[in-house]
Symmetry: C2
């Protein structure tokens, strides 16, 4: 069963294919979307070992000339320098404006490959083939592409939509448990921001989801993509409404930044952020405690962290929040739940309201 | 007299202001277009010396915080490495998504600054303040931004429209004569591709234009921008019609590339290309010799080169044409005039037709 959704963006609309075993039909799907025959596939060594052969066969069967580019694994390689090497490879492979660049991997591969696709020859067709749960439910959809800069994460980037997203849920079967959990963090987010029914479904199906049941995973990926697609269609370049996708991300990004992106996976950091934002919403009288309890409990049951790292310095967090690229004129924006399934964008949250979230460190 | 045109691109529409002395009102115009108060102005040492003080005063009077960035002059500095330094400066100046980046200078400054504006924080407001004739009539309008890569010119870039273009024609008074001539090359192009009446006006007013008569220059800038704006509005990302702007550029780019961008200014190289394309059109029976003669004569009267560099090797030219980023599947596209004021996009020009344009080198 292949599920096909569409991200509705006028001339830039594109399909998301979700299903088991889709990698073996990747070549055909690419052929239907683009006219160029030369294809640069960017991946990392781990993913190449697992899925290189099937991608090779599939693209060859579709009559496409495949050129591989491997980038090292890890956020620290998502740099302009690595992008510069990818431009070289695209150029040497003779890619022209009709030839696609394909990201086969997780968020790092998708982000940097998308940046290269957005900027090589002022933009070539881009295909996302996410192989992690986080990438399938979040980063592969919506067109946010970027590389990091010494001054900050994702500082250099663009909004550049893919032509096609192919999420083969079989690739999730090889993921470490911790990565499945982290992906579930983002999935819970969708329930909180937009879909109370989905949230309740997650409460009822969490164990099957965590255990990697293929049909359960595929359903969760589909609903997550459906919610994200609707939000992106309404506000492609994050002028307003799209900010609701950042629920949990205000504190989440600060935690990632202050721990140098080493301690927490993204889905873990935003889990802490979601719980903190829910508590903040209760404190501000926007959310009742029952709803907050349900959010916190589901995060906890998913095996995700709910508490701020001990000893996190409030001033450091505040400084990090104000440096965030989503801050405007130093104002901090929080996305706060009003109920399970509904959030509000709250700009200009005062630091005095935040302070109680960060209890002072007690020196023994 | 300020002339104001609009590039009609829906939500991305923007005005072009053309007139004498506009720099002194730059701050006010920026204030009207953007909400951010911090402004990064990118320029080069020559332009800074000439116009730094007036820009300083104008932005301060409008209540804007101005941060200067100087990049060295010359195409060879339009690199990712220089862009990386500009990201640093933007970050350190505390620019957020509402704060504009301003290009004050010629094509090199405009291209790299636009690339940084397009990619910093996934895009911030961009303002073009072109100070050369070529930049005022061509590169500052239409949203093509880029940096060079060791493998080729403008290989890395985007289509990213400015919010505002301010062309102060007083800045043309300080230009070297050779740069005025090169700009006139692009101006002649507009007459050939789209406006027979403008071409005739150029035939009648060339001397006044070349001598730098302010009112004549302002009119030529206005009509050129008007033509370019209409073409860009019809085909923003060069899927088809916009290619007519590349008249003279097929051969022009090859000449620039084969001479390492050192021998010819851009406007000179495309002048050779325009004459070559007109001759090719005659050879193919598309253009009568009278029209070709008018084109060639006007280019010559403007003091621009009309002949291919002696000893240019045909195979080298052909290889360069096929590597061009506008080539698709190795096919070479020429823009050929059918009359003064009308061109046709001709894909798939055979190399056998081109060969007579490049007479074999005779060894004495």
């Amino acid at each position: 069963l292949t599920r096909i959704l569409t991200v509705e963006l006028g001339a830039r609309s594109y399909p998301i294919h979700i299903g088991a075993g889709l990698l073996s039909g990747l070549g055909e799907k690419i052929r239907k979307q683009v006219t160029g025959r030369r294809v640069l596939v960017v991946t990392n060594p781990t993913v190449k070992k697992l899925y290189g052969a099937v991608a090779d066969r599939s693209l060859a069967a579709a009559g496409l000339d495949l050129y591989w580019a491997e980038i090292p694994d890890g956020e620290e390689h998502k740099t302009l320098a690595v992008a510069a090497r990818l431009y070289d490879l695209a150029f040497d492979a003779g890619l022209d404006r009709d030839c696609p660049v394909v990201a086969l991997g997780g968020g790092v591969v998708g982000d940097i490959t998308g940046f290269v696709a957005a900027t090589y020859l002022r933009g070539v067709p881009f295909v996302q083939v996410p192989t992690t749960l986080l990438a399938q439910v979040d980063s592969s959809v919506g067109g946010k592409v970027a590389v990091n800069h010494p001054r900050g994460k994702n500082i250099i980037g663009a909004f550049y939509q893919p032509r096609l997203v192919v999420a083969d849920t079989d690739t999730l079967l090889t993921l470490p448990e911790r990565e499945i959990r982290a992906g579930i963090g983002e999935i819970i987010k969708y329930g909180v921001i937009a879909d109370a029914e989905f949230f309740a479904w997650l409460e009822n199906n969490l164990e099957r989801l965590s255990a990697g049941n293929p049909e359960t995973l595929a359903y969760a990926v589909e609903i997550s993509c459906r919610i994200k697609a609707a939000v992106v269609a309404a506000d492609e370049t994050e002028q307003g409404h799209r900010q609701i996708l950042n629920y949990g991300h205000t504190i989440g990004h600060a935690i990632e930044s202050l721990t140098d992106y080493r301690e927490y996976l993204h889905g873990e950091a935003i889990s802490i952020g979601m719980v903190a934002a829910a508590r903040l919403a209760v404190r501000l009288g926007m959310l009742d405690e029952t709803a907050q309890g349900r959010i916190e409990h589901l995060v906890q049951r998913a095996g995700l962290p709910t508490a701020l790292p001990p000893g996190l310095d409030f001033e450091a967090v505040l400084a990090s929040l104000q440096r965030d690229k989503k801050a405007r004129a130093g104002r901090i924006t929080f996305i706060l739940p009003e109920a399970v399934g509904r959030v509000r964008i709250c700009p200009d949250i005062a630091s005095s309201v935040l302070r109680p979230l960060f209890p002072p460190v007690t020196v023994p």
